[in-house]
Amino acid sequence: MPILSEIVLSLVVFAILYFLVAKFVVPNFEKAYADRTAAIEGGIEEAQAAQKEAQAALEKYNAQLADARHEAAAIREEAREQGAQIVAEMRQQAQAEADRIVAAAQAQIAAERQQAIAQLKAEVGGMATELAGRIVGESLADSDAQRRTVQRFIDELEGSAN
Protein backbone atom coordinates (compact mmCIF):
# COMPACT_ATOMS: atom_id res chain seq x y z
CA MET A 1 0.00 0.00 0.00
CA PRO A 2 1.60 3.26 -1.09
CA ILE A 3 0.53 5.12 2.02
CA LEU A 4 3.45 7.51 2.44
CA SER A 5 3.46 8.48 -1.21
CA GLU A 6 -0.28 9.12 -1.01
CA ILE A 7 0.08 11.38 2.03
CA VAL A 8 2.81 13.38 0.40
CA LEU A 9 0.91 13.54 -2.88
CA SER A 10 -2.25 14.75 -1.17
CA LEU A 11 -0.34 17.55 0.57
CA VAL A 12 1.55 18.59 -2.55
CA VAL A 13 -1.51 18.51 -4.76
CA PHE A 14 -3.54 20.52 -2.28
CA ALA A 15 -0.71 23.01 -1.82
CA ILE A 16 -0.56 23.55 -5.58
CA LEU A 17 -4.32 23.90 -5.76
CA TYR A 18 -4.31 26.40 -2.90
CA PHE A 19 -1.56 28.44 -4.53
CA LEU A 20 -3.29 28.57 -7.91
CA VAL A 21 -6.70 29.33 -6.43
CA ALA A 22 -5.31 32.08 -4.22
CA LYS A 23 -3.40 33.60 -7.13
CA PHE A 24 -5.70 33.21 -10.13
CA VAL A 25 -9.24 32.61 -8.93
CA VAL A 26 -9.99 34.42 -5.69
CA PRO A 27 -8.60 37.84 -6.73
CA ASN A 28 -10.71 37.74 -9.90
CA PHE A 29 -13.91 36.98 -8.04
CA GLU A 30 -13.13 39.57 -5.38
CA LYS A 31 -12.45 42.14 -8.09
CA ALA A 32 -15.78 41.37 -9.72
CA TYR A 33 -17.52 41.66 -6.33
CA ALA A 34 -15.83 44.96 -5.56
CA ASP A 35 -16.62 46.36 -9.03
CA ARG A 36 -20.22 45.32 -8.69
CA THR A 37 -20.52 46.91 -5.26
CA ALA A 38 -18.93 50.09 -6.61
CA ALA A 39 -21.25 50.07 -9.62
CA ILE A 40 -24.33 49.65 -7.46
CA GLU A 41 -23.22 52.33 -5.01
CA GLY A 42 -22.35 54.63 -7.92
CA GLY A 43 -25.79 54.05 -9.39
CA ILE A 44 -27.44 54.90 -6.10
CA GLU A 45 -25.39 58.06 -5.76
CA GLU A 46 -26.23 59.05 -9.31
CA ALA A 47 -29.91 58.53 -8.65
CA GLN A 48 -29.71 60.60 -5.50
CA ALA A 49 -27.96 63.40 -7.37
CA ALA A 50 -30.61 63.31 -10.10
CA GLN A 51 -33.35 63.44 -7.51
CA LYS A 52 -31.71 66.41 -5.80
CA GLU A 53 -31.41 68.18 -9.14
CA ALA A 54 -35.05 67.53 -9.94
CA GLN A 55 -36.03 68.84 -6.52
CA ALA A 56 -34.00 72.00 -7.08
CA ALA A 57 -35.59 72.52 -10.49
CA LEU A 58 -39.05 72.04 -9.02
CA GLU A 59 -38.33 74.57 -6.31
CA LYS A 60 -37.02 77.02 -8.89
CA TYR A 61 -40.13 76.63 -11.03
CA ASN A 62 -42.37 77.05 -8.02
CA ALA A 63 -40.51 80.21 -7.05
CA GLN A 64 -40.82 81.54 -10.58
CA LEU A 65 -44.49 80.71 -10.63
CA ALA A 66 -45.03 82.52 -7.33
CA ASP A 67 -43.11 85.52 -8.69
CA ALA A 68 -45.24 85.54 -11.81
CA ARG A 69 -48.44 85.37 -9.79
CA HIS A 70 -47.22 88.18 -7.60
CA GLU A 71 -46.35 90.26 -10.60
CA ALA A 72 -49.72 89.61 -12.20
CA ALA A 73 -51.46 90.67 -9.01
CA ALA A 74 -49.36 93.85 -8.91
CA ILE A 75 -50.19 94.63 -12.53
CA ARG A 76 -53.87 94.06 -11.91
CA GLU A 77 -53.78 96.32 -8.88
CA GLU A 78 -52.00 99.03 -10.83
CA ALA A 79 -54.48 98.78 -13.67
CA ARG A 80 -57.34 99.09 -11.24
CA GLU A 81 -55.78 102.18 -9.69
CA GLN A 82 -55.13 103.66 -13.09
CA GLY A 83 -58.71 102.97 -14.12
CA ALA A 84 -60.02 104.62 -11.00
CA GLN A 85 -57.79 107.61 -11.64
CA ILE A 86 -58.91 107.89 -15.24
CA VAL A 87 -62.55 107.73 -14.19
CA ALA A 88 -61.96 110.43 -11.58
CA GLU A 89 -60.20 112.64 -14.11
CA MET A 90 -62.94 112.18 -16.65
CA ARG A 91 -65.54 113.00 -14.07
CA GLN A 92 -63.64 116.10 -13.10
CA GLN A 93 -63.32 117.15 -16.72
CA ALA A 94 -67.02 116.58 -17.34
CA GLN A 95 -67.86 118.58 -14.25
CA ALA A 96 -65.67 121.46 -15.41
CA GLU A 97 -67.21 121.33 -18.88
CA ALA A 98 -70.72 121.34 -17.40
CA ASP A 99 -69.83 124.24 -15.14
CA ARG A 100 -68.41 126.10 -18.08
CA ILE A 101 -71.52 125.51 -20.18
CA VAL A 102 -73.82 126.54 -17.35
CA ALA A 103 -71.77 129.68 -16.76
CA ALA A 104 -71.82 130.58 -20.46
CA ALA A 105 -75.56 130.01 -20.62
CA GLN A 106 -76.12 132.17 -17.53
CA ALA A 107 -73.96 134.95 -18.99
CA GLN A 108 -75.90 134.82 -22.24
CA ILE A 109 -79.19 134.85 -20.40
CA ALA A 110 -78.04 137.81 -18.31
CA ALA A 111 -76.93 139.68 -21.45
CA GLU A 112 -80.15 138.98 -23.24
CA ARG A 113 -82.12 140.08 -20.20
CA GLN A 114 -80.10 143.27 -20.00
CA GLN A 115 -80.76 143.88 -23.66
CA ALA A 116 -84.47 143.18 -23.22
CA ILE A 117 -84.65 145.54 -20.23
CA ALA A 118 -82.93 148.32 -22.17
CA GLN A 119 -85.22 147.82 -25.15
CA LEU A 120 -88.25 147.65 -22.90
CA LYS A 121 -87.27 150.83 -21.14
CA ALA A 122 -87.09 152.67 -24.42
CA GLU A 123 -90.36 151.28 -25.75
CA VAL A 124 -92.26 151.63 -22.47
CA GLY A 125 -91.22 155.31 -22.26
CA GLY A 126 -92.51 156.01 -25.82
CA MET A 127 -95.73 154.10 -25.33
CA ALA A 128 -96.45 155.70 -21.94
CA THR A 129 -95.90 159.21 -23.33
CA GLU A 130 -98.10 158.55 -26.30
CA LEU A 131 -100.75 157.13 -24.07
CA ALA A 132 -100.61 160.05 -21.67
CA GLY A 133 -100.75 162.50 -24.59
CA ARG A 134 -103.87 160.86 -25.90
CA ILE A 135 -105.41 160.95 -22.49
CA VAL A 136 -104.73 164.70 -21.90
CA GLY A 137 -105.58 165.45 -25.51
CA GLU A 138 -102.50 167.20 -26.42
CA SER A 139 -99.33 165.95 -27.90
CA LEU A 140 -96.48 166.32 -25.64
CA ALA A 141 -94.36 164.32 -27.96
CA ASP A 142 -91.78 166.76 -28.90
CA SER A 143 -91.45 168.63 -25.68
CA ASP A 144 -88.22 168.41 -23.76
CA ALA A 145 -89.98 168.71 -20.48
CA GLN A 146 -92.12 165.71 -21.35
CA ARG A 147 -89.05 163.58 -22.05
CA ARG A 148 -87.48 164.63 -18.76
CA THR A 149 -90.66 163.72 -16.86
CA VAL A 150 -90.73 160.26 -18.40
CA GLN A 151 -87.06 159.72 -17.65
CA ARG A 152 -87.55 160.73 -14.06
CA PHE A 153 -90.52 158.39 -13.75
CA ILE A 154 -88.62 155.46 -15.07
CA ASP A 155 -85.69 156.20 -12.79
CA GLU A 156 -88.09 156.24 -9.85
CA LEU A 157 -89.50 152.97 -11.04
CA GLU A 158 -86.08 151.41 -11.26
CA GLY A 159 -85.18 152.83 -7.89
CA SER A 160 -88.22 151.22 -6.29
CA ALA A 161 -87.67 148.05 -8.29
CA ASN A 162 -84.19 147.79 -6.97
Partner: protein, 262 residues
Protein backbone atom coordinates in the same frame (compact mmCIF):
# COMPACT_ATOMS: atom_id res chain seq x y z
CA UNK B 1 -11.02 -12.18 2.49
CA UNK B 2 -14.67 -12.74 3.37
CA UNK B 3 -16.46 -14.71 0.76
CA UNK B 4 -19.97 -15.89 0.15
CA UNK B 5 -20.64 -19.16 -1.54
CA UNK B 6 -23.49 -19.01 -4.00
CA UNK B 7 -24.27 -21.85 -6.34
CA UNK B 8 -21.33 -23.34 -8.08
CA UNK B 9 -19.26 -20.15 -8.42
CA UNK B 10 -17.74 -18.20 -5.59
CA UNK B 11 -18.85 -14.62 -4.99
CA UNK B 12 -16.10 -12.36 -3.75
CA UNK B 13 -17.78 -9.68 -1.67
CA UNK B 14 -16.07 -6.27 -1.80
CA UNK B 15 -13.71 -5.62 1.06
CA UNK B 16 -11.15 -2.99 2.10
CA UNK B 17 -8.84 -4.68 -0.33
CA UNK B 18 -11.14 -3.45 -3.12
CA UNK B 19 -9.75 0.02 -2.46
CA UNK B 20 -6.15 -1.02 -3.12
CA UNK B 21 -6.04 -0.54 -6.84
CA UNK B 22 -3.16 -1.88 -8.89
CA UNK B 23 -0.45 0.49 -10.01
CA UNK B 24 -1.01 2.12 -13.38
CA UNK B 25 2.70 2.70 -13.78
CA UNK B 26 5.76 3.12 -11.61
CA UNK B 27 7.87 6.23 -10.99
CA UNK B 28 10.04 4.74 -8.26
CA UNK B 29 6.74 4.37 -6.39
CA UNK B 30 3.52 2.86 -7.60
CA UNK B 31 1.22 5.38 -9.27
CA UNK B 32 -2.41 4.36 -8.91
CA UNK B 33 -5.68 5.59 -10.37
CA UNK B 34 -6.69 7.52 -7.22
CA UNK B 35 -3.37 9.34 -7.31
CA UNK B 36 -3.92 10.35 -10.93
CA UNK B 37 -7.48 11.42 -10.18
CA UNK B 38 -6.35 13.49 -7.23
CA UNK B 39 -3.73 15.24 -9.32
CA UNK B 40 -6.23 15.70 -12.18
CA UNK B 41 -8.53 17.66 -9.90
CA UNK B 42 -6.08 20.58 -9.69
CA UNK B 43 -6.11 21.54 -13.38
CA UNK B 44 -9.84 20.85 -13.62
CA UNK B 45 -10.70 23.14 -10.70
CA UNK B 46 -8.22 25.87 -11.51
CA UNK B 47 -9.01 25.98 -15.22
CA UNK B 48 -12.76 26.00 -14.67
CA UNK B 49 -12.79 28.72 -12.06
CA UNK B 50 -10.11 30.72 -13.79
CA UNK B 51 -12.16 30.66 -16.99
CA UNK B 52 -15.27 31.57 -15.02
CA UNK B 53 -13.63 34.47 -13.21
CA UNK B 54 -11.17 35.92 -15.72
CA UNK B 55 -13.64 38.41 -17.21
CA UNK B 56 -14.29 40.00 -13.80
CA UNK B 57 -17.49 41.36 -15.31
CA UNK B 58 -19.89 43.49 -13.31
CA UNK B 59 -22.69 41.79 -15.22
CA UNK B 60 -21.62 38.13 -15.24
CA UNK B 61 -21.83 35.71 -18.14
CA UNK B 62 -23.45 32.33 -17.53
CA UNK B 63 -20.10 30.72 -16.81
CA UNK B 64 -19.05 33.49 -14.46
CA UNK B 65 -22.42 33.26 -12.75
CA UNK B 66 -21.92 29.55 -12.09
CA UNK B 67 -18.39 30.19 -10.82
CA UNK B 68 -19.55 33.03 -8.63
CA UNK B 69 -22.39 30.93 -7.30
CA UNK B 70 -19.95 28.32 -5.99
CA UNK B 71 -17.46 30.94 -4.84
CA UNK B 72 -20.16 32.97 -3.13
CA UNK B 73 -21.49 29.84 -1.46
CA UNK B 74 -18.13 29.21 0.18
CA UNK B 75 -17.23 32.87 0.71
CA UNK B 76 -20.50 34.10 2.18
CA UNK B 77 -22.34 30.95 3.21
CA UNK B 78 -19.40 29.22 4.89
CA UNK B 79 -16.52 31.61 5.55
CA UNK B 80 -18.31 34.82 6.47
CA UNK B 81 -21.06 33.20 8.49
CA UNK B 82 -18.66 31.04 10.52
CA UNK B 83 -15.60 33.24 10.90
CA UNK B 84 -17.22 36.67 11.04
CA UNK B 85 -17.01 39.55 8.64
CA UNK B 86 -13.78 40.91 10.11
CA UNK B 87 -11.33 38.11 9.38
CA UNK B 88 -12.99 35.79 6.90
CA UNK B 89 -11.50 37.09 3.68
CA UNK B 90 -7.99 35.76 4.30
CA UNK B 91 -9.39 32.24 4.81
CA UNK B 92 -11.53 32.23 1.70
CA UNK B 93 -8.76 30.83 -0.56
CA UNK B 94 -8.19 27.94 1.87
CA UNK B 95 -11.87 27.15 2.31
CA UNK B 96 -12.64 27.51 -1.38
CA UNK B 97 -9.72 25.21 -2.28
CA UNK B 98 -10.81 22.66 0.32
CA UNK B 99 -14.43 22.68 -0.80
CA UNK B 100 -13.79 22.40 -4.52
CA UNK B 101 -11.02 19.85 -3.99
CA UNK B 102 -13.18 17.59 -1.86
CA UNK B 103 -16.35 18.01 -3.93
CA UNK B 104 -14.66 17.15 -7.20
CA UNK B 105 -12.75 14.20 -5.74
CA UNK B 106 -15.97 12.93 -4.18
CA UNK B 107 -17.95 13.20 -7.39
CA UNK B 108 -15.31 11.14 -9.20
CA UNK B 109 -17.13 8.27 -7.58
CA UNK B 110 -20.19 8.79 -9.81
CA UNK B 111 -18.42 9.65 -13.07
CA UNK B 112 -18.29 6.64 -15.38
CA UNK B 113 -14.83 5.09 -15.77
CA UNK B 114 -13.34 7.30 -13.05
CA UNK B 115 -15.70 5.84 -10.44
CA UNK B 116 -13.49 6.20 -7.44
CA UNK B 117 -13.84 8.71 -4.60
CA UNK B 118 -10.27 9.77 -3.84
CA UNK B 119 -11.02 10.32 -0.19
CA UNK B 120 -12.00 6.73 0.41
CA UNK B 121 -8.21 6.45 0.73
CA UNK B 122 -7.50 7.47 4.32
CA UNK B 123 -3.98 8.49 3.41
CA UNK B 124 -5.46 11.23 1.20
CA UNK B 125 -7.77 12.52 3.91
CA UNK B 126 -5.32 12.52 6.80
CA UNK B 127 -3.03 15.29 5.49
CA UNK B 128 -6.01 17.55 4.85
CA UNK B 129 -7.35 17.07 8.37
CA UNK B 130 -3.89 17.67 9.84
CA UNK B 131 -3.51 20.77 7.70
CA UNK B 132 -6.80 22.10 9.06
CA UNK B 133 -5.66 21.25 12.59
CA UNK B 134 -2.41 23.16 12.10
CA UNK B 135 -4.22 26.14 10.57
CA UNK B 136 -6.85 26.66 13.22
CA UNK B 137 -4.46 26.13 16.11
CA UNK B 138 -1.82 28.39 14.56
CA UNK B 139 -4.44 31.07 13.98
CA UNK B 140 -5.59 30.79 17.59
CA UNK B 141 -2.07 30.88 19.03
CA UNK B 142 -1.18 33.87 16.90
CA UNK B 143 -4.23 35.74 18.09
CA UNK B 144 -4.23 34.87 21.80
CA UNK B 145 -0.66 33.70 22.47
CA UNK B 146 0.06 30.08 23.40
CA UNK B 147 -1.14 30.30 27.01
CA UNK B 148 -4.02 32.57 26.10
CA UNK B 149 -5.12 30.17 23.37
CA UNK B 150 -4.95 27.15 25.67
CA UNK B 151 -7.03 29.05 28.20
CA UNK B 152 -9.40 30.13 25.46
CA UNK B 153 -9.77 26.53 24.35
CA UNK B 154 -9.90 24.76 27.71
CA UNK B 155 -11.87 27.07 29.98
CA UNK B 156 -15.38 27.92 28.91
CA UNK B 157 -16.45 31.34 30.22
CA UNK B 158 -18.40 31.36 33.46
CA UNK B 159 -17.01 28.04 34.68
CA UNK B 160 -15.18 28.24 38.01
CA UNK B 161 -14.35 26.03 40.96
CA UNK B 162 -13.48 22.34 41.21
CA UNK B 163 -15.48 21.42 38.11
CA UNK B 164 -12.62 22.92 36.12
CA UNK B 165 -10.56 19.84 36.96
CA UNK B 166 -13.02 17.89 34.85
CA UNK B 167 -13.73 20.49 32.19
CA UNK B 168 -10.16 21.39 31.26
CA UNK B 169 -9.02 17.91 30.16
CA UNK B 170 -12.31 17.31 28.39
CA UNK B 171 -12.20 20.57 26.45
CA UNK B 172 -8.54 20.02 25.59
CA UNK B 173 -9.29 16.52 24.40
CA UNK B 174 -12.28 17.50 22.28
CA UNK B 175 -10.76 20.64 20.75
CA UNK B 176 -7.14 19.71 20.26
CA UNK B 177 -7.07 15.94 19.91
CA UNK B 178 -10.46 14.68 18.77
CA UNK B 179 -11.25 17.30 16.12
CA UNK B 180 -8.67 16.26 13.50
CA UNK B 181 -9.56 12.60 14.03
CA UNK B 182 -13.31 13.13 13.58
CA UNK B 183 -12.75 15.47 10.67
CA UNK B 184 -10.65 12.90 8.85
CA UNK B 185 -12.73 9.87 9.81
CA UNK B 186 -16.06 11.47 8.87
CA UNK B 187 -14.97 12.19 5.33
CA UNK B 188 -13.05 8.97 4.86
CA UNK B 189 -15.71 6.69 6.33
CA UNK B 190 -18.53 8.24 4.30
CA UNK B 191 -16.60 7.90 1.06
CA UNK B 192 -15.43 4.44 1.91
CA UNK B 193 -18.83 3.14 2.97
CA UNK B 194 -20.66 4.74 0.07
CA UNK B 195 -18.28 3.33 -2.48
CA UNK B 196 -18.28 -0.05 -0.81
CA UNK B 197 -22.06 -0.10 -0.98
CA UNK B 198 -22.02 0.75 -4.66
CA UNK B 199 -19.46 -1.95 -5.39
CA UNK B 200 -21.50 -4.44 -3.42
CA UNK B 201 -24.74 -3.74 -5.26
CA UNK B 202 -23.07 -3.58 -8.66
CA UNK B 203 -20.94 -6.72 -8.39
CA UNK B 204 -23.72 -8.49 -6.51
CA UNK B 205 -26.22 -7.73 -9.26
CA UNK B 206 -23.78 -8.86 -11.93
CA UNK B 207 -23.04 -12.10 -10.09
CA UNK B 208 -26.65 -12.93 -9.28
CA UNK B 209 -27.91 -12.29 -12.81
CA UNK B 210 -25.06 -13.69 -14.90
CA UNK B 211 -22.71 -15.86 -12.88
CA UNK B 212 -24.69 -17.61 -10.17
CA UNK B 213 -25.96 -20.32 -12.50
CA UNK B 214 -29.32 -20.21 -10.74
CA UNK B 215 -32.21 -18.53 -12.61
CA UNK B 216 -34.08 -17.94 -9.35
CA UNK B 217 -31.41 -15.51 -8.23
CA UNK B 218 -31.88 -13.23 -11.23
CA UNK B 219 -34.83 -11.20 -9.80
CA UNK B 220 -32.83 -10.60 -6.63
CA UNK B 221 -30.00 -9.46 -8.84
CA UNK B 222 -32.34 -6.98 -10.54
CA UNK B 223 -33.41 -5.71 -7.12
CA UNK B 224 -29.75 -5.34 -6.19
CA UNK B 225 -29.18 -3.35 -9.39
CA UNK B 226 -32.11 -1.04 -8.65
CA UNK B 227 -30.91 -0.55 -5.09
CA UNK B 228 -27.48 0.32 -6.49
CA UNK B 229 -29.07 3.06 -8.60
CA UNK B 230 -31.01 4.39 -5.61
CA UNK B 231 -27.85 4.39 -3.51
CA UNK B 232 -26.14 6.33 -6.29
CA UNK B 233 -28.74 9.05 -5.95
CA UNK B 234 -28.23 9.03 -2.21
CA UNK B 235 -24.52 9.36 -2.86
CA UNK B 236 -25.13 12.50 -4.96
CA UNK B 237 -26.32 14.10 -1.76
CA UNK B 238 -23.73 12.54 0.55
CA UNK B 239 -20.78 13.45 -1.66
CA UNK B 240 -21.76 17.10 -1.62
CA UNK B 241 -22.71 17.06 2.04
CA UNK B 242 -19.38 15.64 3.21
CA UNK B 243 -17.42 18.25 1.30
CA UNK B 244 -19.69 20.93 2.75
CA UNK B 245 -19.37 19.59 6.29
CA UNK B 246 -15.59 19.34 6.08
CA UNK B 247 -15.34 22.94 4.84
CA UNK B 248 -17.93 24.25 7.28
CA UNK B 249 -16.23 22.59 10.27
CA UNK B 250 -12.88 23.99 9.17
CA UNK B 251 -14.42 27.46 9.05
CA UNK B 252 -16.07 26.98 12.43
CA UNK B 253 -12.83 25.77 14.02
CA UNK B 254 -11.02 28.81 12.65
CA UNK B 255 -13.85 31.07 13.78
CA UNK B 256 -13.78 29.50 17.25
CA UNK B 257 -10.03 29.94 17.54
CA UNK B 258 -10.34 33.58 16.49
CA UNK B 259 -13.31 34.42 18.70
CA UNK B 260 -12.67 37.02 21.41
CA UNK B 261 -14.89 35.29 23.89
CA UNK B 262 -16.88 32.11 23.80
Amino acid sequence: MPTAVLGSDEFHAPSPASFDLPAVFNLGFDVTKPMLLLALSVPVIVLFFWAASKERAVVPSKLQFVGEYVYGFVRNGVARDSIGSQDYLRFVPLLFSLFTFIVLNNYYSLIPFLQFPSFSRFSFVLPLALLVWVVYNAVGVRKHGLVGYLKHVCIPPGVTGPVLALIIPLEFLSTILVRPATLALRLFANMFAGHLLLILFATGAAFLIFDSGNAWYAPVGVLSFILGILVSFLEVLVLFLQAYVFTLLTAMYIGGALADEH
